[in-house]
């Protein structure tokens, strides 16, 4: 009898280990949406939202950055990336779904690795987005040391050294946080901004201020957020397999 019980207990334990989910994975899945739906595939992203982030007025002249304090930077033409304006469009604006029909939808966590590179003593890209639980790879591609300092307020902050070329670290974030600055204290001009979301409906404006993202049909609150110019919100409706344009305009602060 005792032997039978022992065997049954072991089998139960094996079954639990084999079928049970990693508690962290489970927590991330919960945060990845909330309501019903198949989290393995998520709602089909059949609609397209695109538009332009316009910068109104004369863009500020990019500030020249002296990298003379570190010969390893090898980037004499570095300029500030606070306002990158091309063809009248503002780059590095994080655009994301912040409300509306997103409620109750569950999305799988993307396994695609997002890379933040340190090259010529500046971050590439300057702004990026990723999902809660999605891996962020931070790599030093410079012939000098960097420290990677995430000034997180909601997620745990971290500060780690990357003493030489080729050193890399990978992080995941457990909670939504926009904007999460990443800075280098060795080169105090270096900064990058991250948006962490519980869903995949986010992107960053590129050349000409253009952005595009795929999303399920529905009516959404969309937010465009810039590191210094703040954020704007607009509602938009997109149909199944349809496309919608949504443009934002940012003005320099008085």
């Amino acid at each position: 009898m005792r032997k039978t019980l022992l065997v049954l207990s072991l089998l139960s334990l094996l079954a639990f280990v084999a079928c049970g989910k990693d508690p962290l994975e489970e927590a991330l899945e919960k945060r990845a949406g909330g309501g019903g739906g198949d989290v393995a595939t998520g709602p089909a992203l059949t609609a397209t939202l695109k538009g332009k982030i316009t910068f109104e007025g004369t863009p500020p002249t990019p500030k020249k950055i002296s990298t003379s304090s570190d010969p390893g930077c090898k980037n004499p033409n570095l300029v500030s990336e606070e306002f990158v304006v091309s063809d009248g469009g503002l780059e590095n604006v994080i655009v994301y779904v912040s409300g509306g029909d997103i409620a109750g939808k569950r999305f799988p966590v993307s396994k695609d690795v997002v890379t933040l590179s340190q090259e010529g003593c500046h971050y590439i890209p300057h702004a990026l987005t990723l999902q809660v639980g999605q891996p962020l790879r931070i790599v030093n591609n410079d012939d000098t040391a960097h420290n990677v300092h995430a000034w997180a307020m909601i997620n745990p902050a971290f500060n780690e050294s990357q003493s030489s070329k080729g050193v890399e670290n990978t992080h995941t974030f457990e909670k939504e946080e926009v904007l999460l600055p990443v800075r280098c204290d060795v080169h105090n001009w270096m900064n990058s901004f991250i948006g962490v979301f519980s869903h995949p409906l986010h992107t960053v404006s590129k050349k000409g201020g253009a952005y595009e993202m795929k999303l399920p049909a529905g009516t959404y609150m969309v937010t465009a957020e810039h590191e210094t110019l703040g954020k704007q919100e607009m509602m938009v409706t997109v149909a199944e397999n349809g496309s919608a344009d949504l443009n934002f305009t940012f003005k320099p602060k008085a």
Binding site: T144, N147, S163, N188
Partner: protein, 324 residues
């Protein structure tokens, strides 16, 4: 005769240790330089440029190659090295005092300085480990000033001036006793340095971007706590200015011939003028790191001068009743 004067008199017979005094003076000067270097770290926002502690990028602090001292690392690692040097000086100073000094209270004072410098080192490490929390960073900044005062006290108490017996001076003023005036001024300067540390470590240094006005007004609208902290530091500057002028004018009126008292007071007044100018230029240059660090260091020097004056006043000044 006051108690302090009698203590000073009795020490006259104890012989001198001029070497210890000079070493204490050297430690005090090194500490002033260390405060400047610490200011450079904050001014260059380099406090976390070396993420590990007590190692530097995995290296032993003392073997970290100079070729890697680039950007903010130069300031942060340099600060660690200068701090280690001051710590080393303090170990020697305390050992020296413990072995050669007959005055128990002075030996205990040197031990206090040693405890302070060790605590300061640990706090420095904690600021790195916990990513510059304001409370620890502020404590680190304030303990630096306290430690500087301890080195000044050790310099003063080991000086031949103290050991030979300080001259006693008569304070016939009807109001507050001169030592009390000096102590109040020192307290005001210390509080002002605390406010300055609070301002620096909450990134409020340019919360009011214009000077001498504040957003074009005398009293600004307190839109956020940064403005409030910054403005408090400006009000503190007015209070400290008034306190120093009050102390100096009192000395000029009643003790102008007492070189040991008027000397540090005059130094304090000159430093105040420099400090106010540096404060203005800190704003006008949008916190140029060198100017800002000089402002921090000059603040420490004012505290040092005021503290020395206070020590001397307590040691020398005899109230009218005691004099009679």
């Amino acid at each position: 005769m006051s108690r302090n004067a009698s203590v000073a008199g009795s020490l006259h017979e104890e012989g001198e240790n001029i070497g210890l005094h000079r070493f204490a003076l050297f430690t005090a000067c090194s500490t002033a330089f260390l405060i400047f270097v610490g200011g450079m770290v904050t001014s260059h926002q380099a406090g976390l440029s070396v993420p590990d502690w007590p190692t530097s990028y995995g290296w032993n602090m003392f073997t970290f190659p100079p070729s890697k001292w680039v950007g903010g690392i130069f300031y942060e690692h340099g600060h660690r090295l200068v701090a280690s040097f001051v710590g080393f000086l303090t170990v020697i100073l305390a050992s020296w005092a413990w072995l050669r000094e007959s005055r128990l209270w002075l030996r205990l004072l040197s031990l206090g300085a040693l405890v302070a410098v060790i605590t300061q080192g640990i706090l420095g490490g904690l600021t790195v480990k916990y990513l510059l929390p304001t409370s620890i960073s502020m404590t680190h900044a304030c303990l630096a000033q306290t430690f500087f005062c301890l080195t000044i006290a050790l310099t003063f108490f080991t000086s031949p001036t103290w050991k030979h017996g300080l001259p006693r001076v008569h304070d016939g003023h009807k109001g507050l006793a001169l030592p009390t005036v000096c102590a109040l001024t020192t307290g005001a300067v210390y509080l002002q340095l605390l406010l300055g540390a609070w301002m620096r470590h909450t990134q409020s240094g340019l919360a009011i971007p214009d000077f001498p006005l504040a957003f074009g007004r005398i009293i600004p609208a307190f839109a956020n706590y940064h403005v409030a902290i910054h403005f408090a530091h400006r009000v503190g500057a007015v209070v400290v200015t008034a306190a120093i002028i009050w102390t100096f004018s009192r000395l000029v009126r009643m003790h102008r011939k007492d070189r040991l008292l008027i000397g540090p007071a005059a130094v304090m007044l000159v430093l105040l003028c420099i400090q106010l100018t540096l404060g203005a230029f800190t704003i006008w240059t949008e916190k140029s790191p060198f100017i800002t660090s000089m402002h921090v260091a000059t603040g420490a020097l004012i505290l040092g001068a005021s503290f020395l004056l206070t020590l001397r006043a307590f040691s020398m000044v005899v109230r009218e009743k005691a004099w009679q």
